[in-house]
Amino acid sequence: MTDRDTILKTTDLTKRFGALTANDEISLAVERGEIRGIIGPNGSGKTTFFNTVTGFYEPDGGTVHFDGEEVTGWEPHRLARRGLGRTFQIVSPFKNMTVRQNMLAVQTDDGRSREEKRDRVGEILEFLEIDHIADNEARGMSGGQQKLLELGRVLMLDPDVVMLDEPAAGVNPALESRIMDHIHELNDDGTTFVVIEHDMHVMKTLADTVSVFDSGRHIAQGDFEEVSQDEAVREAYLGGTTAEDDEVPV
């Protein structure tokens, strides 16, 4: 992979909280147009990595490059406007606003007129199949609809890269399947995804490449089958015991 193909790259990215090193010199490169999965046991530093890359935490060392530009330490809103979108594990729509207003609250530098922005909102809501509740207050939405709204708000940024933190957590199988279909469709249109997910079935079907974190370190990378056979990965997940199952727990 050349640098020209790399859209998001971290080099020796480090984040400490007191004596705890939550991210320990993580170097990772995401290719333009891929779906990169990030897995690891609880506390392995996945969400900290997201927070440091997207500007919510100031790194203690290392760099972040996005689309050929160093963006280390940029404010989250600036990265969002630059085209790096993300979601959190726990969805949190603006509950006193309608679904449409939630989408219109997004600010970009694309120079769209008010009408163009409203049209774009309509397109995205239709794509996500929640256009029928566009004028409902977000406080009345189901958890699954809130997940879709969260994705919709990110899409309003017209992002080049979307970082999703457990998109399938807490949703029913039908909605999970819908969310995965949306991710695939968007990916086919050129959007790059970086996805944290604990559900290995989801990861297996979704990710082109999987990065494995353990104790704040990036210990392995490859396609799902490769990493599930990796000794270090099995050690991280199974604590060094010999498993009859030859994959990471699914």
Partner: protein, 297 residues
């Protein structure tokens, strides 16, 4: 036997007072939502605004009402400059951010009160309002005191402009988004530092200007601030923490309660009655009288 004429007059006075209180309450509620800080300095902004009216108006040989543009600009600028300091003490790695904000604004309030006491002494001062004396008699209703009517008109006008900005503009939508969830607002491309400065500046400007009008209605006194801080708390709790439309009702309730208590019980009992109402509301409906607040639950 209730004197209907007196009753109607009390209602008029209460509604007119409510008009200006709403302005203070909406700004205070918004500052609470956007900066996640309980601003103890709110009453002192009212006090300093009143003193600016008392000092600047005679300086220019003008009525208090004519110094409002200066007060608006000065308070907006000062508010926009103070906001980054509040943001600094309530974010980052500091523990207990709410308490830090409380201590910071309490210190600011003490500084403002002490500063005015040091410069002007403990005596109250009048804000010139000779053009606004007398009242307009409306047959069948009562008399509308001119100074209170102009004050209420300013309060309602300020509120309308402020609400228009909040609910009809891109910046206002950003401020409402920050007030609901500033972490998510940052993900939506919203520059929270910029909008927090605008929101706090606008709140300070409205509150300081309300102070000039309150100074014209009553007077300017270094000790007046605490009462208005209590009023602001009353309004946001009654409205439901963070629920802006409720503040409008709460401001009117405040004005009426003050007027009725002053006439039928005693002027000194106003705060007592207000806090009795707050206790009952918190016990019965912690999310405010309309049940739509969030942060008191």
């Amino acid at each position: 036997m209730v004197d209907i004429g007196l009753f109607t007059q009390i209602v008029i006075n209460g509604l007119l007072l409510g008009g200006i209180y709403v302005t203070i309450g909406v700004g205070f509620s918004l500052a609470f939502g956007v900066l996640e800080v309980v601003d103890f300095a709110v009453g002192e902004y009212v006090m300093v605004g009143a003193f600016m009216g008392a000092v600047l108006a005679p300086l220019f040989g003008a009525e208090g009402v004519f110094v409002i543009p200066i007060v608006l600009v000065v308070f907006f600028a000062v508010g926009a400059l103070i906001q980054p300091l509040i943001h600094h003490v309530t974010t980052g790695d500091r523990p207990h951010p709410l308490l830090m904000g409380l201590v910071f604004t309490f210190g600011l309030a003490t500084f403002l009160r002490g500063g005015v006491l040091t410069i002007f002494g403990p005596n109250s001062q009048d804000v010139p309002s000779s053009l606004l004396t007398g009242g307009i008699a409306v047959p069948g209703l009562g008399t509308f005191p001119v100074v209170r009517t102009v004050t209420a008109v300013f309060g309602v006008s300020g509120l309308v402009v402020f609400m228009y900005y909040l609910y009809r503009t891109r910046g206002g939508m950003a401020i409402r988004a920050i007030a609901e969830d500033r972490t998510n607002a940052r993900l939506m491309g919203i520059n929270i530092n910029r909008y927090q400065s605008i929101a706090y500046g606008a709140y300070a400007a409205l509150t300081g200007s309300a102070g000039v009008f309150i100074g014209m209605t009553f007077n300017a006194s270094p000790g007046m601030g605490l009462q208005y801080t209590a009023f602001a708390f009353f309004m946001v709790v009654l409205a439901g923490m963070g629920y802006l439309p409720g503040v409008i009702i709460a401001g009117v309730v405040l004005g009426l309660t003050q007027s009725f208590t002053a006439v039928y019980i005693s002027g000194n009992a106003v705060l007592l009655v207000l806090f009795a109402i707050i206790y009952v509301v918190l016990l019965v409906s912690p999310a405010g009288i309309l049940g739509k607040g969030e942060w008191a639950t």
